[in-house]
């Protein structure tokens, strides 16, 4: 191969556009005759809707229409599940607008369309909504009593139990020399995007075309959902992906608004735009994480893990949303992480509560599982008086054991295995990077009023969800080449990465790949999108196939023009040459070929986090002195963007580890209704972070050898920080069992430890 753009740390092509303020987000797009939508949301967590009167609102200045469930003959459509669409979940799916009941604060009740967004919002207080309040189900422990149920016909608040099984855990526990049982929980987070969501829709009655702006992540899936809901064939719906200010799993899923705004456009015949504000964003976009585990680990006395057994309870919020089951599924399948665990038995219950529904958030279920198990490993090592790092070394999966089978999840019969890698290697590298011989001497030491602690954890990251991805190459009129993709950009740098892959495959300069178009339904015949760390692996492999087809078509077309055999024709940057002659590439403008990549297996990248922190025991404050993430990503297409993903996701993970928690009171009212209370990491909060990208063990399941790499920073941050705190305060007997590690929580743990020591 002539080129080696793959593997080069190349700056992102898209950044010049963003840095110059030339990005185009959905709110930047305007159409003549636009109506602005504002969505009246329930302020009641659980209740029966007795009446909705919108007549007074219609008389308010600028108001055009108010839409409620009553405007939808036969009732509002349901938003179906996209992943794990099991029949058991059907009764728990969300209507596109509240109908008969409200089940969380933030559930859409009415859509006001007005000349300006402010006028639409002004009309809210003229809408009379009568709701008979019902007792709120505030968390999973309340949900399991079933005294108050969200879905009367079901009679239970539990929508599903995922069962992960491997070997015979009960037998292993029966004969185990040592068992530790713990109860651990994570906070409620969400994939907060800097740009809130937005949808603009326009209905062209003459052409029968519905056009949706603001699509992201999975536009082809969403088109199919909307098609069924609104009764139009997919050919009459176009989804346009604009620039996107963050995805994180949450943005781009099909939400109620993704029906309501197109419906409003068709209902009124006017273009309609809705831009989510931050207050809505906190209660309308998918929540995530809040899981509690009651977990047992069986070990030999030397720390060899024999079996894991237990239950996990996920606070699902009010409805089963498109990808809402993924976190609860993953936590059960990946509880064993990167470790050799022969026997696994995890029951993961999904509890419906009167909160904003959950969906995936970067590292779904994996962040939680990592925190649960890594916390337990440190507690076990301490109790067994063995070195916690040696315990990890003893249990990490090695290259000669690959592919390594993991637990199977029921009822989906999800059989899976890890693909490649020598897991101890990233741990050794991380210890080397942090200068373990030096920093290990500081463990638990009190220096200038602060205790030093080191957290060490290992993780596994899944990627490359199938079944398929599509790419297309086309010759432009100026002799450059455009690349069209079925996957989406949610900020991963796909325009750069795919240009690298295409330029290498075609053996042309990277400038020759002039445009990389992605995310809109018009570009390729089918697409799957950006989730489960799949874009580079799946989309990149599709680009290779498209390049093969494209080159073959060019040779054939060139042969006719050049009068030679197709095998003699080569693409030479801006021309085709063969038989001693050449013809400019621009003369083949419009020539295009698609390629696809089909895949049912998953990639598994892996790595280690090591954090050196201090804890001020009086304030309960944590400061990070140094933090290293090492991850083997199979093949780093662009080490610079991989590192960006690592650091970005690590900061996000540290938010969940020490700051973020969506809190509700017992009535289902959210207590963290603004960014003054839902605390995100700020630019200056975590300055000392490092990322090391390795690509020693390529994935055998795709031609690039690449693995998903967008989640490694976040997955292990909670476990690593909690272990670092425990290590710092080990002389005082402090063991964090929940996240976030807020100053007040750490202080409280110290008080408890002090009282215990005094007894």
């Amino acid at each position: 191969m002539k080129n080696t753009f793959i593997g080069q740390p190349m700056e992102r092509r898209e950044d010049l556009r963003f840095l110059r303020g030339r990005g185009e987000y959905v709110d930047d797009v305007a159409l003549p005759g636009l109506l602005h939508a504002a969505i009246l949301r329930s302020s009641v967590a659980h209740g029966k809707i007795k009446s909705i009167d919108t007549s007074a609102a219609l008389k308010r200045p600028g108001v055009h229409t108010v839409i409620t469930a009553a405007d939808m003959p036969g009732g509002p459509p349901i938003v179906p599940m996209r992943l794990q669409p099991l029949p058991e979940f059907k009764p728990f799916e969300q209507p596109a607008i509240a109908h008969e009941k409200v089940r969380y604060v933030g559930e859409p009740i009415a859509v006001v369309l007005a000349a300006t967004a402010a006028q639409a919002e002004d009309a809210f207080d003229a809408i009379e909504v009568e709701i008979e309040e019902l007792p709120a189900v505030a968390d999973w422990t309340v949900a399991q009593r079933n005294n108050s149920v969200l879905f009367d016909k079901q009679g239970t608040n539990r929508s599903m139990v995922f069962e992960s099984r491997k070997g015979d855990a009960d037998a292993a526990f029966a004969s185990a020399p040592y068992v530790r049982k713990e109860r651990l929980r994570t906070g409620r987070h969400y994939g907060l995007t800097m740009e809130p969501r937005g949808v603009m829709a326009t209905w062209d009655a003459a052409k029968g075309m519905l056009t949706i702006y603001g699509a992201a992540k999975v536009p082809f899936f969403n088109r199919r959902i909307l098609s069924a809901q609104i009764g139009l064939p997919v050919e009459q719906i176009e989804m346009i992906e604009n620039d996107v200010g963050g995805g994180y799993g949450a943005r781009g899923e099909f939400y109620p608004e993704d029906f309501l705004i197109p419906f409003a456009a068709r209902h009124t015949g006017r273009p309609v735009k809705w831009i989510e504000d931050r207050r809505e964003n906190l209660i309308a976009m998918n929540h995530a994480r809040e899981e509690e585990a009651i977990l047992e680990v069986a070990c030999a006395r030397d720390g060899t893990i024999l079996a894991i057994r237990g239950e996990v309870h996920t606070d699902m919020g009010a409805y089963m949303r498109t990808n809402g089951a993924v976190g609860a599924r993953n936590v059960s399948q990946f509880m064993a992480g990167p470790y050799r665990v022969p026997h696994v038995k995890i029951d993961s219950s999904l509890w419906m509560t009167n909160k904003t529904p959950v969906g995936t958030y970067r590292g779904p279920g994996r962040f939680e599982a990592n925190f649960f198990l890594e916390r337990m490993i440190d507690m076990i090592a301490e109790e067994l008086r063995i070195d916690r790092i040696d315990m990890r070394r003893r249990n990490l999966i090695t290259a000669k054991e690959q592919p390594y089978p993991i637990a199977t999840v029921q009822p989906t019969n999800a059989v899976d295995e890890y693909d490649s890698g020598h897991y101890p290697e990233t741990l050794e590298r991380a210890l080397q990077e942090i200068d373990w011989p030096r920093v290990s001497k500081l463990q638990g030491k009190l220096v200038d009023g602060k205790y030093h602690g080191i957290g060490v954890v290992c993780f596994i990251e899944g990627g490359a969800a199938g079944p398929k991805e599509t790419a297309r190459l086309e010759v432009n009129g100026d002799g450059t080449i455009s690349l069209y993709l079925g996957t989406s950009s949610v900020g991963q740098g796909v325009e750069t990465i795919f240009a690298q892959i295409a330029a290498d495959a075609l053996e042309v300069s990277i400038e020759r790949i002039r445009h990389v178009h992605h995310g809109s339904t018009a570009y390729v015949s089918d697409g799957y999108g950006a989730y489960h760390s799949r874009s580079t692996v799946m989309g990149g492999s599709a680009v290779l196939d498209a390049a093969n087809n494209f080159l073959a078509a060019l040779r054939e077309a060139g042969a006719k023009r050049l009068g030679c055999d197709a095998n003699a024709v080569t693409l030479d940057e801006d021309k085709l040459t063969g038989g001693g002659k050449s013809v400019p590439l621009r003369e083949f403008a419009g020539l295009t070929q698609e390629g696809v990549f089909l895949n049912k297996k998953h990639t598994y990248s892996y790595g280690s986090h090591v954090a050196h922190i201090t804890v001020d025991p009086k304030l309960g404050r944590i400061e990070i002195i140094d933090y290293v993430v090492v991850q083997d990503v199979g093949r780093a297409i662009n080490p610079l963007t991989v590192k960006g993903q690592m650091i970005g996701s690590l900061v996000q993970g540290l938010g969940g580890a020490v700051l973020e928690d969506l809190k509700y009171d017992e009535n289902g009212q959210i207590l963290t209704g603004s960014l003054a209370d839902y605390l995100l990491p700020l630019a200056s909060d975590f300055p000392n972070l490092r990322g090391v990208v390795l690509d020693k063990y390529p994935s055998p399941i795709n031609p690039l050898g690449a693995k998903g790499a967008g989640e490694g920073g976040i997955i292990a941050a909670g476990g690593c920080m909690a272990n670092a705190v425990a290590n710092a305060l080990s002389s005082l007997g402090v063991q964090p069992r929940q996240l976030p590690l807020s100053p007040a929580y750490i202080w409280e743990l110290l008080q408890q430890a002090g009282r215990k020591a005094a007894e």
């Binding site: 402010a118 002004d122 931050r278 309960g620 963290t672 200056s684 100053p743």
Partner: protein, 285 residues
């Protein structure tokens, strides 16, 4: 989060501004930097019928330093205080406290008058005012009046101001050379509202002992207040580590902290003691 409808006026004289505020049955609201009011409007927690923009009022944006202390015009912004080198000696406690106010962008817009009129219990400026026995001048229909800081702050977001009154000046008494001060606060993130904060000063007497102790808190309770028992524990003593612990304990015992999602009352109490201890040690250094 769009602002509710309101009328807007931008008067050029104080009299005009006062008349406007008085004209809307108590529904008018003054706006200066808008760093607290605009978010409240966006959340529709405040729905004034009229906003009276104070930005064109003359003479309210000066920092005057004289023998009787520091006079801050109500429209002085946090950035002005940070940039004023004279305040390093004229009022080091003010300077130290203002460094903790929110974030860069907010410090460029927020004003001292707006902060005291808003009266957030966790805000730094009200805390400095109370700790330093500041006098706040307000102009209203009935003329101007001077209000002692201790009387000005009545509760969370509640002050002695009448609806037609505008804060015009904050007077911080003179800072003698023998004065030592410390300011400590702790928030979840730098720039957030303090879970607790302590502003304190004392004067060194000829024997190296602390006199005239002033210890004020923010973020614990519904308003900034001074801690008489902690001050008594400090007065007449030489500041040592042991004394700092003792004064901190007195401070912790004296406060009446509230609980919220970020901190329990017990944590806030302990935190106040720790911050008091540390502020005192910093003052003595």
């Amino acid at each position: 989060m769009k602002l509710p409808p309101f009328e807007y006026a931008c008067p050029t004289t104080l009299n005009e501004a006062v008349a406007l505020l008085a004209s809307h049955n108590g529904e008018a609201k003054a706006i200066a930097g808008g760093q607290s009011l605009v978010p409240m409007l966006a959340f529709r927690l405040a729905r004034p019928s009229l906003l009276v923009d104070l930005r064109k009022l003359p003479g309210l944006n000066e920092i005057k330093i004289g023998a009787d202390g520091v006079r801050l015009g109500a429209l002085v912004r946090w950035r002005d205080i940070q940039d004023d080198k004279r305040l390093e000696s004229a009022h080091p406690l003010l300077k130290a406290a203002i460094a903790h106010v929110a974030h860069y962008q907010i410090r460029n817009r927020g004003t001292v008058g707006g902060s005291v009129a808003h009266a957030d219990p966790a805000a730094e400026m009200p805390g400095v005012c109370v700790a330093c026995d500041a006098v706040i001048t307000a102009a209203g229909k009935g003329g101007t009046r001077a209000i002692k800081a201790a009387d000005f702050f009545e509760g969370a977001l509640t002050t002695a101001l009448k609806p037609d009154e505008i804060v015009t000046e904050i007077h911080l008494p003179a800072w003698p050379a023998v004065r030592r001060s410390g300011f400590q606060e702790f928030a979840r993130r730098r720039g957030d509202f303090a879970m607790s904060g302590v502003a304190l000063f004392y004067d060194l007497d000829a024997g190296g002992k602390a006199t005239n102790a002033h210890i004020g808190t923010i973020g614990v309770g519904d308003r900034p207040r001074r801690l008489a028992k902690a001050e008594a524990a400090l007065n007449g003593q030489a500041v040592t580590e042991a004394l700092a612990v003792k004064v901190g304990e007195a401070a912790a015992a004296e406060v009446d902290p509230q609980e919220d999602i970020h901190a329990s009352a017990a944590y806030r109490r302990s935190l106040t003691g720790t911050l008091c201890e540390r502020a005192l040690l910093a003052a003595a250094r």
